[in-house]
């Protein structure tokens, strides 16, 4: 048995932001197995101070280019709670379409562009253009389609434009919506089914590893918890959103510019797998079929299966969007203006499931309508302690393998969380300390 192991993966690739994986084992004792977050700190909470409510979501969407929509919506919801702005049913449906579109986009990007190269032993998606052209083309089409959703509803998929506090500054036409629906049915579903086949064929490449942890997600008894709901912990059940601080319990560790979080245990997991474990019964029929096909059964304790849960959610999002478009078309698009007349000033807390997990924004506005205090708790941050705990269990289990294999498995583990590091430092890299 090996006594010493030093791994230091500097600036992990195919993740958003800068992180290092650091493993240090001496004489068989594991001293360190950590994900170091070295992304530059961003200080958004401080920058928000003194900004008026029109600017807040514009600013917070810039926390992360990949989760910009999630930040934008959570921010809008928190502002609306704080200022007492009611939104219309039409606005809510449009926002749900946006969440579906953003999750669809982000999950496809991760599962097919960032994670798949690992299963095929290549360094990026680019070589696959020659070896697996059909797959790449289908993946590109899916991503384009997902972005089309964002472009249509919010003007731009990255850093959305037209969703503002109280509603939308521009509305899609009924014709545009029905064209999108047509495309989702004719192109989206067949391409998604093809992607599922591809992932199914790679299922044996997914490492087998299990560690039961606490799974936390948004829960809503009417629908799969994305846009809104209460907090659900697999350990302690449902908790009101206003009590989020009792769950996140953020704390600072010296190896990470992103804060860590813990609740009932030393760590918890958020993201697609957590959502699946907590809300799988609420997936729509197409997604249920996909889960079955891919062998994903709740509860699942293998963090590598997070990627598979993402694929299941893609199917859910496509089908759900079609349903939401039908709702809009039945009602007809009403030419509504955003409701931007505050009825009060105070604190507003909101949560949304973004692709990487549960997100909280918490604002306090003063009487001039300016931000007095802001707090954002980001999913990747919440997952960091859980990643460290996974590594602590995983390293001794695979210690007999070569250093290359260990490194790869660790990288794949971190990547499975689809970490978004810019976000979490408002943060990813893998450093093996030498």
């Amino acid at each position: 048995m090996k006594k010493d192991l030093n791994i230091n993966v500097h600036h992990l690739t195919r993740v958003e932001g800068h992180g290092n994986i650091v493993v240090d084992m001496k004489n068989g004792v594991l001293n360190k197995s950590e994900l170091h977050i070295v992304e530059a700190p961003r200080y958004f909470e401080a920058m928000l101070k003194g900004r008026n409510f029109h600017e807040v979501a514009i600013t917070t969407s810039r926390i992360c280019g990949i989760c910009s929509l999630g930040h934008q919506l959570t921010s809008l919801k928190a502002t609306e709670v704080a200022l007492g702005l009611e939104i219309s049913e039409q606005t809510e449906i449009l926002r749900k379409i946006l969440v579906d579109g953003a999750t669809f986009q982000s999950n496809i990007l991760h599962a097919l562009f960032l994670a798949t190269p690992d299963f095929l032993n290549v360094g990026s998606v680019f070589p696959l253009i020659n070896t697996h052209k059909e797959v790449v083309l289908a993946a590109l089409r899916l991503k384009r389609l997902a972005n089309d959703i964002g472009d249509l509803i919010s003007g731009r998929a990255i850093h959305p434009i037209s969703c503002v506090p109280g509603g939308f500054t521009k509305l899609p036409t009924e014709k545009e919506l029905s064209d999108l629906k047509e495309k989702l049915i004719k192109e989206g579903i067949p391409d998604a089914e093809f992607a599922v086949e591809v992932v199914a064929s790679l299922a044996d490449k997914i490492p087998t590893f299990e560690r039961e942890t606490e799974y936390i997600s948004v829960y809503n008894d009417k629908e799969y918890g994305f846009y809104d709901g209460v907090i659900c912990s697999s350990d302690s059940g449902l908790i009101p959103v206003d009590n989020y601080l009792e769950i996140t319990n953020e704390f600072i560790v010296s190896h990470s510019t992103s804060k860590h979080a813990k609740f009932n245990r030393s760590s918890y997991m958020v993201g697609a797998l957590a959502r699946f474990n907590n809300s799988h019964k609420l997936l729509n029929p197409l997604a249920q079929k996909v889960a079955e096909k891919l062998g994903l059964v709740a509860p699942n304790y293998n963090p590598y299966m997070n990627t598979v849960a993402q694929v299941v959610e893609v199917a859910h999002c496509i089908e759900n969007t079609i349903g939401l478009i039908d709702m809009l078309l039945d009602r007809g698009i009403k030419n509504e203006k955003p409701n931007q007349e505050p009825t009060k000033y105070g604190r507003g807390i909101a949560t949304t499931e973004v692709p990487r997990g549960i997100l909280f924004h918490d604002y306090t506005y003063n009487r001039k309508g300016l931000i007095e205090k802001a707090n954002c708790v980001i999913p990747t941050g919440q997952n960091l302690a859980n990643i460290d705990d996974d590594m602590k269990k995983l390293v001794p289990e695979i210690i007999e393998e070569s250093k290359e294999d260990i490194t790869k498995k660790l990288e794949m583990l971190v990547r499975a969380y689809d970490p978004c590091i810019s976000c979490s430092v408002h943060m990813l890299e893998v450093d093996f300390i030498e």
Partner: protein, 245 residues
């Protein structure tokens, strides 16, 4: 002619500009015909020693960033600053408006000493920048324009006129006339007035037009019902390093 070697690097930013490139789905294959992407951490493992064109996203805000940017400059023939953060500090530069200690404490409390952070600077403050692609996020047509121009070996077009120009070409209803705030009259174009075209106001993400009449701009916003303080505060959202008073 051999294909130019292109690399992408990210500094302090949201990485939205890079993601925007991955969102060029329809053109991605043609782009790969045109250039060799040799380094792009967000999407691939490969690394290279030298590049013809390096695209830099993000602003410089830590001592390690400083070293990295100098290193990249040494390895590349052409360096392009990509997006607001790289070009003028972008939204990150708002941090510079507050005392550094206060900012760190506000976020990290008593653990603030753990993380070194320096004032946010644009890439051009440290190394020579050959070309700029502005915007938050960068606009993909402009990115393609710059990429194609560089492949052709020509200087890309730049935009030193106001967003109002593009907004008028699109015949949008004026945002200021609707009683909203707007920085279109003094902010750099090149975005095809995307925000006003979507009913939203211009936030000035591409920076201010050079040579602007700053007093006139504040007076203009005052006439539309915004106090001087608010006008300047909102101009600073993306231009914290550029507004003087």
């Amino acid at each position: 002619m051999s294909k130019p070697k292109v690399a992408f690097f990210d500094f302090t930013s949201c990485e939205g500009c890079q993601l925007n490139k991955l969102n060029l789905e329809n053109d991605l294959l043609s782009i790969l015909e045109l250039v060799d992407i040799v380094e792009f951490r967000e999407a691939m493992d490969d690394k290279a020693d030298e590049y013809d064109i390096a695209f830099i996203e993000g602003s410089i805000s830590t001592p390690t960033c400083v070293e990295r940017i100098h290193d990249i400059r040494r390895r590349t023939k052409i360096l392009v600053a990509l997006g607001a953060c790289a070009v003028n500090g972008g939204i990150n530069a708002m941090k510079n408006l507050y005392p550094a200690d206060w900012v760190k404490e506000e976020v990290y409390g008593e653990d603030k000493y753990l993380f070194p952070s320096i004032p946010v600077q644009p890439v051009s403050a440290l190394v020579k920048v050959d070309y700029e692609i502005r915007g938050c996020p960068m606009s993909t047509p402009e990115f393609l324009h710059v990429l194609k121009s560089l492949v052709l070996g020509r200087k890309p077009e730049s935009f030193d006129y106001a967003v109002c120009v593009e907004c008028k070409l699109k015949e949008n209803e004026c945002v200021l006339d609707k009683g909203m705030f707007c920085l279109g009259p003094i902010s750099r174009a090149g975005c095809d007035a995307i925000c006003p075209s979507n009913g939203q106001y211009c936030t000035g993400c591409r920076g201010l037009v050079s040579n602007i009449n700053e007093n006139g701009a504040v007076d203009m916003l005052k006439q539309h019902g915004f106090s001087e303080k608010e006008a300047l505060n909102r101009m600073r959202l993306y231009c914290a390093n550029d507004i003087e008073n």
